[in-house]
């Protein structure tokens, strides 16, 4: 039997949306208040969905302790209470929540050995959320 397991994590970070490919006026027109040179912050809610066969002995898709440790080590310790623009992956790429969502998916895809990564869903605020599934097809 195949099941999907989703775990939610919280982290807080600051960012500034500014593209070096745009003029000052274009940046301001595109990103508005998010272009403030001093940056601003969000409480992000991260949902990681993995899928796999439910192990007949343990009753689990994957061990939650392993999943938590992997997300803590690879994602939360990297981004929680940090300025996203200072990270090497966002020196050129703008740290929009779209790009952050894709980045987190790719980090986890490289490091999760316990189960198949199905989806990353990221809420920037209660009003905005983003989902990325890589090559898994549209979110269900």
């Amino acid at each position: 039997m195949k099941a999907h397991l989703t775990r939610r994590y919280l982290f807080s970070a600051s960012h500034r949306l500014h593209s070096p490919e745009m003029s000052v006026a274009e940046n301001l027109a595109t990103y508005g208040k998010c272009n403030n040179p001093h940056g601003h912050g969000h409480n992000y809610s991260l949902e990681v969905t993995v899928s796999g066969t439910v192990d007949t002995t343990t009753g689990m898709v994957c061990n939650l302790v392993d999943l938590d440790q992997c997300v803590e080590r690879e994602v939360l310790s990297r981004y929680h209470l940090e300025n996203l623009n200072t990270k090497k992956e966002f020196t050129v790429t703008v740290p929009t929540t779209e790009n952050l969502c894709i980045e987190i998916f790719e980090i986890l895809q490289r490091s999760l050995g316990h189960a198949h990564l199905e989806k990353v869903r990221l809420e920037e605020t209660m009003m905005n959320s983003f989902e990325y599934t890589g090559n898994n097809g549209p979110p269900r």
Binding site: M1, K2, A3, H4, L5, T6, R7, R8, Y9, T49, V54, T57, T58, G59, M60, V61, N63, L64, V65, R140
Partner: protein
């Protein structure tokens, strides 16, 4: 095709233990969840059904019937119970969130007539949930 989701809540206790593991392995794999006295959760259940809207009733499914079925097949069996000791499925399978979602699916799926079961989602806490789509 329209998808309809009905939510319900139940509270139950459980513990994780496999007779196939030694006591040390059980403790290492399941950690605090291996405490034989059990611990509890407030579970939230979301049942999603799909189907065409009946042109006369305007319904995908009669919500009253769905609600009663969820009560009869799931809540009456699992609410305020020690899952390992009182629910037949969990005399053999460990009552993980994965196995609870599968058990709910297997209880509801044969009883649904008007609409098709699409997804069973079980929240163990707001930070952990499992989806089961009936996939082998």
């Amino acid at each position: 095709m329209v998808y309809l989701t009905r939510k319900a809540e139940f509270s139950a206790s459980h513990y994780y233990h496999s007779p196939e593991f030694t006591p040390e392995e059980n403790r290492r794999i399941f950690g605090k969840c291996n405490n034989p006295n059990g611990h509890g959760h407030n579970y939230t259940l979301e049942v999603t059904v799909k189907g065409e809207v009946d042109p006369r009733s305007g319904f995908v499914v009669d919500l009253k019937q769905l609600k009663e079925m969820m009560h009869r097949e799931v809540l009456d069996v699992m609410d305020h119970r020690f899952l390992n000791k009182e629910v037949p499925e969990f005399m053999t399978a460990i009552p993980t969130t994965e196995n609870i979602a599968i058990a709910v699916w297997q209880r509801l799926q044969p009883k649904l007539q008007q609409a098709q079961l699409h997804r069973v989602r079980v929240y163990e806490t707001p930070d952990l949930f499992v989806d089961f789509y009936g996939e082998k």
